[in-house]
């Protein structure tokens, strides 16, 4: 049987032919046809058109044919769900048993909170560990790792039962067991005998992992890299197993090298250096570079070896292999930083290789060396001058370094180098487009011209020593990654949120299950908030929807799984919203509105501090700004565990703010407030974090003005001006939703030119025009005009036609949408007719509402 022939048919009209064959009476022919269909499906051809025909073939007792149809069905069920359901009926007899079992499981876990582990269930899991397949053991161990034992005794007893897994042939079982042990070890006291035993037991299995296939070795090495950083004592005697082998793939070699450096110590440095020297003569460029760099790191890490490292590096420089030389110079610079005034004798050798350096990093390193030791290099000025010739072709790194080096040289040998320093300063400040370079140039220039002594103190100041370990993983991240041993996160050395979409499966662990929210997370564009029916309370979507959407934003550190025991203090304080907020806002600084938007008469006030201004205006109806509605209760205390929030929106000299009033109606002090908006139609977002300076004690009320901007993410909401808000405090996260008046979005430069108005009015099709009646408004045209103007609705022209006043008005929204209006006022008649024209007609209704609110208040 040679089924490969099915892959080769590429005739035209194939689908048609297949259809005929599928409907053939002969079983053999049918089978052939289905095989062809599956082959086409594999290579990516669309054979979904054959769905009914293939499914028809299922009416058979031939098991083989049934299986084939099933394969097809599995692939296309998603695209044709209705058809698939029909087809499934014929499978039902087989599937029923499985489904019954599954539903039973689902019933016994009503909340499906499988992470709700307790000592009893842990005990069962540990028993099951001995009885299931290797894959099952992995699942169980991964699950165990999410548990937090109640004390060290429980931790120890779990560890004792997990340790035998370290002898499993399946590396994934071993790594998952290592994860459990590494986590629970945190809880054990270091004085315990058992702690020492456990440490000893961990080393051999880790070493054994290095005899696995290369891909697994790679996974193991990435994990060992983490383990070595967390607990260096485990593998400190095992340096030799990380020596690279000739036939290791390059990715294994690079990882081994990394771990060798981490394990390097005074005891083994001689061996390590001998190895590294060999590696530096290998073929793979990346590997050689890393080896050379590693020699430098050894020098910095183990002081006793520094001299040997330097001489090894000099030997390597003598090879004249271009990239080896460059790499060596970069690390020698670091050695100089670590051991000042010790190895400067080698500078002469380095200078010989000046011409061969073509990489920015190496050139910058060399220039730094020349500048730093200018007084010992006789021709330092010549050397630096040679770099200056092609100044503009150099990379920024080199330019900055050259500028600094020449200034250093000048401070050391002022007499001979005045011309040089002027040259570089003018190159940096006058001929460069790079602001960093220009700024640095100007600073040096002013320093040198105002106070050369101070300049010397600044530029030639003693430098802080560089630390030994340069590329250690930051401790909190390391702790987190230890919880992810064996998984992709540990391979990438990144938290899952960095590469898993939408933080799914990360944050969700800690939340009650909501299938609906899952769906909306996956396809945010199809997930608007619940259908509105006009009234405010109805706008509040089900919490599930809202949560799903809010979670779509990166909410910072995942809260999944129990944290490590030692880190639990920090992790406990991690707030659900905090991380995301900070990252969105990018710092606590107040974002000032663009100066251009500030009317001249207010300029002085602006200078005195924006926050004062906002405090003054909050809650007070103002003369110069837009109309401000009185505060309404947005979140009743009942729904928010005692926190009552009421508020309103204001627009004041070009900036929008949300004036909030927080009342603590609970018995407990509230702290750690934070706020987050869901995506909305106009991209409204907080421009600064919610700053509640003191804890809010019971029955206390605080008023806050939260500045907003309109640069957040945009998603069309229903209704358009719906805003979903999450507020967090030390107690919980609360969600509410509110409608903002559209006039807070009317910008100050919304006055359209007359001609432009005329042209635009004609240009917008008539079907975009909407008419509204404004009733019971006793104002005259003048008053209307001025009142509207204060809310940034500008009267472009005014006409009197047959005794009626016609006001032509324009306004512009923050997102650049223009709205044109014609307001017809009959003297003596309190009803106005408003015609609105806009390219986005859906805003008209809300603009009309804005008119109503402004005119009637």
């Amino acid at each position: 049987m040679t089924d490969s022939k099915y892959f080769t048919t590429t005739k035209k009209g194939e689908i048609f032919e297949l259809k005929a064959e599928l409907n053939s009476d002969k079983k053999e022919k049918k089978k052939e046809a289905v095989k062809k269909v599956i082959a086409s499906m594999t290579v990516g051809k669309d054979v979904s058109a054959l769905f009914p025909d293939v499914v028809n073939c299922m009416q058979t007792d031939n098991l083989e044919l049934k299986k084939l149809v099933y394969l097809y069905l599995m692939n296309y069920a998603k695209s044709q769900p209705d058809m698939a359901i029909m087809a499934v009926n014929t499978f039902v007899k087989v599937v029923a048993n499985a489904v019954a079992a599954l539903s039973e499981i689902a019933e016994s876990h009503p909340s499906s909170n499988l992470l709700d582990l307790n000592p009893q269930s842990i005990n069962k899991l540990l028993t099951a560990l001995n009885e299931c397949t290797e894959w099952g053991q992995i699942f169980i161990l991964d699950c165990l790792a999410n548990y937090t034992p109640k004390d060290d005794r429980e931790a120890q007893s779990i560890c004792e039962r997990v340790t035998p897994r370290l002898s499993h042939a399946n590396s994934a079982v071993v790594l998952s067991a290592v994860k459990v042990l590494m986590k629970f070890m945190e809880m054990l006291s270091k004085d315990l005998d058992y702690y020492g035993t456990l440490l000893k037991k961990l080393a051999p299995p880790l070493v054994t992992l290095l005899s696995a296939e290369p891909e697994l070795q790679y996974v193991a090495l990435r994990n060992i890299n983490l383990i070595v950083q967390k607990r260096p004592e485990i593998l400190k005697h095992e340096m030799k197993v990380f020596f690279v082998k000739y036939n290791d793939p390059i990715y294994v070699k690079l990882e081994k090298l990394d771990i060798m450096i981490r394990l390097a110590s005074q005891a083994n440095i001689a061996q390590v250096l001998a190895e590294l020297k060999e590696y530096a003569t290998e073929v793979d460029v990346d590997f050689v570079r890393k080896a050379v760099r590693a020699i430098g790191r050894c020098a910095i890490k183990v002081e006793q070896s520094a001299e040997r490292c330097v001489s090894t590096l000099l030997d390597l420089i003598q090879t004249k292999v271009n990239y080896v030389v460059q790499e060596a110079i970069v690390v020698i610079k670091d050695i100089f930083r670590k051991y000042p005034n010790k190895y400067e004798s080698v500078i002469a050798t380095l200078c010989e290789n000046l011409d061969s350096l073509d990489e920015p990093e190496a050139r910058a390193a060399m220039i730094w060396i020349v500048g730093e030791y200018a007084e010992r290099i006789d021709n330092a000025d010549e050397l630096l001058e040679s770099f200056l010739e092609g100044f503009h072709d150099e990379s920024t790194q080199v330019q900055l370094q050259l500028l600094t080096a020449i200034v250093k040289l000048f401070l050391k040998k002022p007499t001979e180098t005045q011309e040089l320093v002027q040259q570089v300063l003018s190159l940096a400040t006058q001929d460069s487009d790079n602001p960093d370079l220009r700024d640095r140039g100007y600073i040096y220039w002013r320093l040198l011209s105002t106070d050369p002594v101070a300049a010397k103190e600044v530029v030639l100041a003693e430098k802080p020593l560089i630390s030994e370990e340069t590329d250690l993983i930051e401790p909190t991240l390391l702790d987190e990654l230890i919880c992810y041993i064996g998984t992709l996160a540990s391979v990438y050395h990144k938290p899952p949120s960095a590469f898993v979409e939408g933080g799914r499966g990360v944050v969700h662990k800690s939340l009650p299950p909501r299938t609906a929210s899952n769906e909306s997370t996956e396809s945010p564009e199809t997930a608007p908030a619940g259908a509105p029916s006009g009234e405010q309370p109805d706008v509040i979507p089900t919490q599930g929807d809202l949560l799903g959407d809010l979670l779509n934003l990166d909410l910072g550190p995942p809260v999944s799984g129990p944290p490590l025991a030692t880190s639990s203090v920090q992790m406990g304080a991690v707030d659900l919203l905090g991380g995301g907020l900070d990252s969105l806002i990018g710092g606590p600084n107040f974002v000032a509105p663009p100066a251009a938007a500030v009317p001249a008469n207010l300029g002085a006030t602006m200078g005195s501090g924006l926050s004062d201004l906002f405090d003054l205006t909050s809650g007070v109806g103002t003369l110069s700004g837009s109309y401000v509605a009185p505060k309404a209760v947005w979140l009743p205390a009942m729904k928010a565990k005692g926190l009552e929030i009421s508020g309103t929106f204001t627009r004041q000299v070009g900036s929008i703010s949300m004036d909030l009033q927080l009342t603590n109606k609970a018995l407990q002090v509230m702290t750690d407030f934070a706020i987050q908006f869901n995506r909305n139609s106009f991209g409204l977002a907080p421009a600064a974090p919610l700053q509640v300076h003191a804890p809010l004690s019971p029955n206390q009320t605080v008023e806050i003005s939260l500045p907003l901007n309109t640069v957040g993410s945009v998603m069309k909401m229903e209704p358009l001006n719906n805003l979903q808000v999450a507020v967090k405090n030390n107690i919980d996260v609360f969600y509410f939703s509110t409608l903002y008046p559209l006039h807070i979005l009317f910008v100050e430069d919304g006055k359209m030119d007359r001609q432009m108005f005329l042209a635009t009015w004609k240009d917008i099709p008539n079907e975009n025009e909407a008419q509204f009646q404004i009733r019971d408004c006793p104002l005259n045209a003048e008053a209307v005009s001025s009142r509207l103007q204060s809310s940034n609705i500008f009267t472009v022209a005014k006409r009197n036609v047959e005794g009626q006043d016609m006001l032509y008005q324009s306004l512009k929204l923050t997102n650049g949408i223009w709205v044109l209006a014609e307001l017809r006022i009959q003297p003596g008649n309190p009803s106005f007719t408003l015609s609105l024209k806009c390219r986005a007609p859906e805003v008209s209704q809300h603009v009309y509402q804005a008119y109503e609110t402004i005119l009637k208040n």
């Binding site: 049987m1 040679t2 089924d3 490969s4 099915y6 892959f7 095989k35 599956i38 594999t42 290579v43 990516g44 031939n62 083989e64 299986k67 084939l68 394969l71 001995n130 299931c132 894959w135 699942f139 039962r161 340790t163 035998p164 002898s167 499993h168 042939a169 399946n170 590396s171 994934a172 071993v174 790594l175 998952s176 051999p204 299995p205 070493v207 054994t208 296939e213 290369p214 891909e215 697994l216 790679y218 996974v219 030799k240 020596f243 000739y246 793939p249 990715y251 061996q271 060999e278 073929v283 992810y484 064996g486 998984t487 992709l488 996160a489 990438y492 590469f499 898993v500 990360v506 996956e522």
Partner: protein, 402 residues
């Protein structure tokens, strides 16, 4: 978990594509082809992240297997699964090649369905799989057979089916050891370890309980004084095993507490355990190479091998490979024992000796002519490799069957 699994040929054409999760689209198939298979440089990592999708890939001859996921999966598990997948396929249709995969694609889909369920690996022991995934069409199954399958799929012992009968009950045990050695150019041993594999062929009826003991140091120390005398009497050496890993049939908790290896073996051949030792390694051979460059177009190589074991033992099927530079134009070889040949296609001189007793010495010398070249790329100087077999009687084995 695993979202999808693809198999490609060396050109990047898809041979098998099975998607388990909705988050993996068809474009993932192409992304891998473009970014990994067609990438100009060699593989820099077996895990590649393309547009938030992670690809785990292994290559067997010129076939690529790629597992795809968008989640934070257990990476070690995915690779173990891919290896297992290769084993299962090899057990069903032999070598993993494009031809074989195309010929068996329906079978492969069926296997994939069985051993991966919604991206979660399931029982993947070939012995068990073969009872219910067959290459023939329908097999009329009796009620008992069907219930047997059920009990196997859901039961504890997934690797062995019940009711196996042999007229003769036999058990074979092979211990395969490889010595790994790292030596400095000065001949100093930098590191050495022995990694051993115990391969078992079992032809036993029913559900046999097997128990092994081993005379590793820890066991012997545990047994106390009496045994120490015994060992000295019988002349048995105890060995210090650094670490060992076992097939999933071995009861690990029992090994942990009693250091005894007890298990119900799968039927047929399987790898019972692997071990690693670093203590008291006596190298069976010493290889001493001498390389001299004569000008730019000639290389003189002399290799001496010394057997370092007891004279009573015999090493067989000795094969020494001496790599030659890529620009070799001709080789002349002289050897005192065995046959030596230059194999241009393999860039190596292959020296074969049928047998060699302990404490002997033999040598080969070769003159290698080189073509003048201006190729800047350095020759990677691969190491000389050597293979041989030594058959030992059981009395020398560190293993004791109870």
């Amino acid at each position: 978990m695993i979202g999808g699994l693809f198999i490609y040929n060396h050109k990047g054409e898809v041979l098998i594509s099975r998607v388990y999760r909705d988050d993996i689209g068809r474009n993932a198939v192409d992304a891998f082809r473009v970014n990994v298979i067609h990438a100009r440089q060699q593989v820099r990592s077996p895990v590649t992240n393309i547009a938030r999708t992670s690809f785990f890939h292994v290559k067997r001859s010129n076939i690529w297997l790629a597992a795809v996921t968008k989640q934070n999966v257990n990476a070690a598990m995915v690779f173990e699964f891919l290896y297992k997948m290769c084993d299962v396929m090899a057990a069903y249709f032999g070598k993993i090649s494009e031809e074989n995969i195309k010929n068996n694609f329906v079978l492969i889909y069926e296997l994939l369905d069985e051993i991966l369920d919604f991206g979660y690996p399931q029982n993947s022991e070939t012995g068990a799989l073969k009872t219910f995934i067959t290459q023939q069409g329908i097999k009329s199954q009796t009620k008992e057979e069907q219930s047997q399958i059920t009990s196997q799929v859901t039961g504890q012992i997934g690797w062995r089916r019940e009711g196996i009968k042999y007229r003769r009950n036999e058990l074979f045990l092979d211990v395969l050891e490889s010595v790994n050695l790292l030596m400095s150019p000065q001949g100093q041993v930098l590191s050495a370890h022995v990694s051993g594999r115990v391969v078992m062929k079992s032809y036993l009826s029913g559900m046999p309980e097997c128990k092994f003991g081993m005379n590793d140091k820890i066991v012997i120390e545990k047994q106390g004084k009496g045994t120490a005398d015994e060992t000295s009497k019988s002349g048995k050496q105890s060995i210090a095993i650094d670490d060992c890993t076992f097939h999933q049939c071995v009861r690990l908790s029992k090994f942990d507490s009693e250091r005894s290896i007890s298990f119900i073996p799968p039927d047929g051949e399987f790898e019972l355990m692997r071990y690693r030792t670093t203590k008291d390694i006596i190298l069976p051979f010493r290889v001493i190479p001498l390389v001299r460059e004569v000008g730019r177009t000639k290389l003189e190589v002399k290799v001496v091998i010394k057997s370092n074991f007891k004279p009573s033992l015999l090493a067989q099927k000795i094969e020494v490979r001496i790599p030659t530079p890529l620009n070799t134009s001709g080789v002349q070889v002289i050897c005192m024992k065995g046959k030596a040949k230059y194999k241009a296609s393999e860039n190596a001189i292959v020296w074969k000796i049928k047998r060699m007793a302990g404490m002997k010495e033999s040598q080969i010398s070769a003159e290698i002519e080189l073509l003048p070249t201006n190729d800047k790329k350095k020759w990677a100087r691969p190491p000389i490799s050597m293979n041989f077999e030594v058959w030992q009687k059981r009395s020398l084995d560190p293993w004791r069957v109870c």
